[in-house]
């Protein structure tokens, strides 16, 4: 103990943060400073949005994890706003907020993470929240003292709260203080309602006693809200919506019901109706409510507000149907296996075989033959009298009945039509009400009703019908015209492709049946046909003249009839692209790709040669790629066409004059059609679900919109199919739930709007539904406020099965002088210093006052030549009688006793000898 103590060390050691508790306070101060919450640094705002913004930091103290968060309403930022606040402004803002908050009730929500902002009308607040509840009195005191000290040291301009007691009790204690006023925010939570607090008059007297005003107060202004829960909500007119699966009973069978997807909830989705009878403002004496008598009558309340509470689980029929189909996405078995048909259809279970030999016609013929023998005996699970109407609904052209004919014009909606975001419009479409819609909706409902067997049977019949139509050259109805449209869903593209095949086959068979001459296939004008031309060089397959262009040899240039590029569905295109990608990106691969792509170039060149006998490559280029043709140079080829070995030259050299009609087909309709049919038949369950889901989702979305759902907000792009489906299903679910809700809202509110007071008719309707009289209130709430000479005082009480009382009481902090005595000390520092005992409204302070010439400097601003004072709060500290100031300052290592840090620091710096008390009292 005799070792030399290095004075230097002592000077530079901050003794104020030696204990954990001091570290805790220092950390709090540091955070408040970081967040710039000093009264003089806060920015002044006048307007706010309704959004709360928060930031938080973690602190550990005594093994408890604390989170301190700063929550504030987002201000409407005015540029170059540099105004900062001051005591007066902040206090004013808090008081105004408090007074105005009385128009709200405790259970209102304002979007802030803690209810205190709503309770006390705060626009910003700090909250210290522990991970485990602070239940013991000593720790609560310690935490509150710490907040107190940090608040004072930082000169914080934001009310600060701590969450205490059990978390579910929502017990918050807080404070705000400036040099003149102190506002304390208190919460009391009792599990049982005390007698005095069970009625308004008791609460009013409690309120008054709490204010303890020396002068008579104005009348207390009261707001009250009585809540009633009307449980028997079935008595509200509740419209039952479509019942699912009704169509299955033969008696009630009606195909029309299949056109619609089910929608809405089968059961009443309302769990309860909450009625709030509200008296916004009355003076304490106007309504009597005491333990013996009450003239509070909810029927007379000026405002009735109603809110609906929906069941947590609403069975939304549409979403149920959709999600059932979504579940199929996990089933990787062949759909036809469900019926045991895979073998007879010539399908191989993909799980057994990874690669596959190309489909041969013979294989398909065998499959087709199989259908006429064993498959025709196949009897599916769907009874005929249900199945046939369904098939006629999907293929209405098969019967004479016109009830379900498809519209003549099947429109594919364009994306970007209208700027509004339609629900699920990112899911690929198909013509609304077309075959794909009907099939998909029917499939979804059949699956819902009869399981996978029914779905498989429908799919089987569907593919059989397509097979029949291909064989008999009958177009599939309800499909948009033309080549596969990549904006539509894959199933629709496949049907478009099949229709292309059917159309081509029908056309082809008539052509080839009709004639063998090619007279029909070229059309030269009269004048030309009279021209003398050698028969071997007769032009064929001309479409029209290319304006007044002519060949190099002077003959007019004709645009030939050409083969259209083969129509392809998106999966085929992707496969083509993948194939090209696999070749790599070097020069060789590039050449190979060019060769692959030259099929249509060759076809066009051959057609051109046939239509323009004697033509050269430059003539072809004049039509095909005019920028590579140089008219100034007498129709020479551009540089890039002259590169040696380029595919244009090479292809031209091998092209023979063959008109399009006699060329090898670029599009082999038989092969393509067989592939489509095989594709559809050989799908796994999950793949079929993937084909059907786009139309189911779109039809579902259309249904939801029809039922009043608003547009979607989601923009989805570039994610895989599966996730697109999931997002869409989720959107539909939300829309359906919302629609259920708004339907209930309409039944309950009639003309009125939710969130607005009920009109007379609405009140009568509610009263009637409740059976003429209201049940006892489930919750009562009173807000009491009065403005005394200081500021508004506020107390709220919520009485349900438990009782919560909160209060915000403002006191003056200005001190009442009690005693002033000279300090009796031999230390020269204390000569002429006086010790003052000051009793404030909430605390007692010992203040040591040094005269201006004491030679000390202010610890805060560093200025010398001022009278200085050091405060030690003793109200929270348990100072023993006769303890000297130094001891009192050095002592606070005992928990629960706050020490003013600046005093200690000041001591440590100015009186080195005494500093040792703080660090090593033994040394004395």
């Amino acid at each position: 103990m005799n070792e030399e103590i290095d004075e230097y060390d002592i000077y530079h050691q901050d003794f104020t943060t030696v204990s954990e508790w001091e570290v805790f306070i220092a950390r709090l101060e540091e955070i408040l400073n970081d967040w710039k919450l000093t009264k003089t640094k806060l920015l002044r705002f006048s307007e706010y949005t309704k959004k709360w913004i928060s930031k938080s930091e973690d602190i550990v103290f005594q093994g408890i994890r604390f989170k301190i968060s700063y929550n504030m309403l987002e201000p409407i930022d005015k540029k170059d706003n540099n105004d900062t606040t001051d005591d007066k402004f902040i206090f004013q803002e808090i008081q105004t907020g408090l007074w105005n908050s009385a128009s709200k009730f405790m259970d209102d929500l304002d979007g802030s993470p803690y209810p205190v902002s709503n309770w006390f009308g705060l626009k910003r607040y700090l909250m210290l929240c522990s991970d485990i509840p602070l239940v013991e009195g000593s720790i609560i005191k310690l935490v509150m003292s710490s907040i107190n000290i940090a608040f004072a040291n930082v000169n914080c301009g934001v009310p600060v709260f701590a969450k205490i007691r059990e978390h579910w009790q929502h017990n918050y204690q807080g404070l705000y203080e400036d040099h003149e006023y102190k506002v304390s925010f208190d919460t009391i939570h009792l599990k049982r309602i005390s007698n005095q607090c069970s009625h308004l008059s008791g609460l009013v007297s409690l309120f008054k006693s709490k204010i303890a005003s020396p002068v008579a107060l104005d009348a207390v202004i009261v707001s009250a809200k009585f809540s009633y829960e009307l449980k028997d909500s079935d008595s509200f007119a509740w419209r039952k919506l479509t019942r699912s699966n009704e169509f299955l009973s033969i008696d009630g069978f009606d195909v029309k019901k299949l056109i619609q997807l089910p929608f809405g909830s089968e059961k009443n989705p309302v769990a309860s109706v909450l009625l709030n009878a509200i008296w916004p403002k009355f003076r304490e004496s106007t309504i009597v409510d005491s333990s013996t008598f009450s003239d509070i009558d909810p029927i007379m309340a000026p405002i009735w507000m109603v809110s609906l509470q929906l069941r947590d689980q609403i069975n939304c029929q549409l979403s149920d149907t959709v999600s059932k189909v979504m579940e199929l996405l996990d089933n990787n078995f062949l759909l036809m296996d469900t019926l045991g048909l895979s073998r007879s259809l010539g399908l191989v279970n993909p799980l057994h075989k990874i690669t596959e030999a190309p489909i041969t016609i013979s294989k398909l013929v065998k499959a087709a033959m199989g259908q006429s023998t064993n498959v025709s005996e196949f009897k599916g699970p769907i009874p005929d009298d249900l199945l046939m109407p369904l098939l006629y609904y999907v293929f209405p052209d098969a019967v004479d009945d016109n009830t379900f004919n498809y519209p003549d014009q099947l429109e594919i909606e364009y994306k970007g039509d209208g700027s509004d975001n339609k629900l699920c419009n990112y899911v690929k479409t198909s013509p609304q009400g077309g075959l794909v819609w009907r099939l998909s909706v029917t499939a979804a409902r059949l699956y819902d009703a009869g399981g996978l067997q029914y779905l498989a049977h429908l799919w089987y019949e569907f593919t059989q019908e397509l097979q029949y139509r291909w064989e008999h050259r009958i177009l599939v109805p309800g499909v948009a015209e033309g080549a596969p449209n990549a904006r539509t869903c894959l199933l629709h593209q496949k049907l478009q492709l099949l229709n292309c095949c059917i159309a081509r086959a029908a056309e082809g068979s008539s052509i080839f049946a009709g004639n063998s001459s090619e007279d029909e296939f070229y059309d030269c004008s009269e004048s030309e046909s009279t021209e003398e031309q050698p028969p071997w060089d007769r032009p064929v397959g001309r479409l029209h003249r290319l304006e007044d262009a002519s060949l190099k040899n002077g003959a007019p240039l004709y645009v030939p009839r050409t083969q259209d590029p083969a129509p392809k569905t998106e999966d085929q295109l992707e496969e083509d692209a993948e194939l090209m990608v696999r070749l790599g990106d070097d020069a060789k691969a590039s050449e190979l790709r060019a060769r692959m792509m030259s099929a249509s170039l060759l076809s066009d060149m051959e057609a051109f040669k046939a239509a323009n006998p004697g033509a050269e490559l430059c003539d072809f280029v004049q039509w095909y790629s005019p920028r590579d043709w140089m008219p100034e140079d007498g129709g020479a080829l551009g540089a890039r066409m002259l590169l040696p070995g380029n595919p244009w030259m090479e292809t031209w050299s091998v092209a023979r004059p063959v008109p399009a009609v006699r060329q090898r087909r670029l599009f082999d309709e038989t092969r393509e059609a067989q592939q489509v049919l095989h594709f559809l038949r050989s799908r796994t369950v999950s793949a079929v679900a993937e084909l059907l889901l786009p139309a189911i989702l779109r039809a579902g979305a259309a249904k939801a919109i029809e039922e009043g759902a608003s547009g979607g907000s989601v923009s989805v792009g570039g994610i895989d199919k599966r996730r697109t489906f999931e997002v869409a299903a989720r959107e539909i679910y939300d829309a359906e739930r919302e629609a259920c809700r708004s339907l209930c809202v309409r039944t309950v509110f009639g003309e009125g709007r939710e969130g607005e007071p009920l009109d007379v008719a609405g009140r009568a309707r509610i009263l009637a539904a409740a059976g003429g009289a209201l049940p006892p209130p489930t919750r009562r709430e009173f807000t009491l406020r009065v403005r005394d000479e200081l500021a508004p005082q506020l107390m709220r009480a919520a009485l349900a099965t438990d009782l919560t009382i909160i209060g915000a009481f403002t006191e003056r902090t200005s001190t009442i002088f009690v005693r002033s005595e000279p300090v009796t000390s031999c230390d020269p520092c204390y000569q002429r210093a006086r010790i003052v005992v000051v009793v404030g409204a909430s605390e007692i302070i010992l203040r040591v006052v040094f005269m201006a010439d004491c030679g000390r400097w202010c610890d805060r601003c560093g200025r010398a030549g001022q009278a200085l004072c050091c405060d030690v709060s003793v109200s929270a500290a348990r100072i023993g009688v006769g303890e000297c100031v130094e001891c009192a300052c050095a002592r606070p290592r005992s928990p629960g006793a706050p020490r003013n840090r600046s005093v200690a620091r000041w001591y440590a710096r100015s009186i080195p000898g005494r500093a040792r008390f703080s660090s090593k009292p033994d040394n004395k």
């Binding site: 996990d330 990787n332 993909p350 799980l351 075989k353 990874i354 596959e356 190309p358 990549a486 904006r487 894959l490 259209d564 590029p565 392809k568 569905t569 998106e570 999966d571 085929q572 295109l573 992707e574 496969e575 692209a577 993948e578 090209m580 990608v581 990106d585 590039s590 790709r593 060019a594 792509m597 066009d604 790629s625 005019p626 920028r627 590579d628 551009g638 540089a639 890039r640 066409m641 002259l642 590169l643 244009w648 592939q675 594709f679 050989s682 799908r683 796994t684 793949a687 989601v714 923009s715 989805v716 792009g717 570039g718 994610i719 895989d720 199919k721 599966r722 996730r723 997002v727 959107e731």
Partner: protein, 235 residues
């Protein structure tokens, strides 16, 4: 790629795993990148699309490239915020006759470089047509940059930079004048396009809380790992 194998024994028309929009997809064979973007260069015949691509991908220039037959592509890997982004850049034939073939490849492209030739009025006049093609055949949020190429040929210029800028503004796209020959702005165009795509992507992810929340997806993630690898593209 499980799905792919499961069903590959069916027809060539199979579209399972490969059919998913390939935006997030990683090529199973080449794991050497974090993201792959498919880009397309379109525009009239002989505006310099192929030269532009070769300048970027190979840093080479030849005055005459073979006129592209149909469609071709090159690959270039770039870094963006420590992520390897593989660019699959498709070069298309500009001839009218190839429209049907090339537009089939628009789908799945995340970015377009729409090119005209500043020395050719007609190629500039066609820009609007190309934009219509993009609108019709591509994804909704495909990004476009308008490029006026051959800006080294100042004497033969017929389309002023101002007109290009105005048109771009009117179309709501960004604009660059470039020269594949003099290597002006070539890299800048690609880099900017990648930036725009990344921005757009994180934006659309932000607006999809439902997707990020995950919900009842759990197991499905394992089925298509390449599809869901990392929705938070920080590239």
């Amino acid at each position: 790629m499980k799905n792919k194998e499961d069903t590959s024994s069916t027809t060539s028309g199979d579209e399972m795993a490969g059919g998913g929009d390939p935006k997030w997809q990683k090529d199973a064979a080449d794991q050497n990148f974090d993201y792959m973007f498919k880009l397309l260069i379109i525009g009239n015949s002989s505006v310099g699309k192929t030269s532009f691509l070769f300048r970027y991908a190979d840093d080479s220039f030849t005055s005459a490239f073979v006129s592209t037959v149909g469609i071709d592509f090159k690959v270039k890997t770039v870094f963006r915020h420590d992520k390897r982004v593989k660019l699959q850049i498709w070069d298309t034939a500009g001839q009218e006759r190839y429209r049907t073939i090339t537009t089939a490849y628009y789908r799945g492209a995340m970015g377009f470089i729409l090119m005209y030739d500043i020395t050719n009025e007609e190629s500039f006049n066609s820009v609007q047509d190309w934009v219509t093609q993009i609108k019709t055949y591509s994804w909704d949020n495909a990004q476009v940059i308008l490029v006026g190429n051959k800006c080294d040929m100042e004497e033969e210029r017929v389309v002023s930079a101002e007109r290009g800028r105005q048109l771009a503004e009117q179309l709501g796209v960004e604009f660059y004048e470039t020269s594949a020959k003099e290597n002006i702005n070539v890299k800048a165009v690609f880099e900017r396009l990648v930036d725009i795509i990344c921005d757009k992507m994180s934006e659309s992810l932000d607006s999809e809380p439902a997707m990020l929340a995950g919900g009842a997806r759990g197991q499905r993630l394992t089925e298509q790992p390449q599809g869901n690898s990392n929705p938070n593209c920080n590239c």
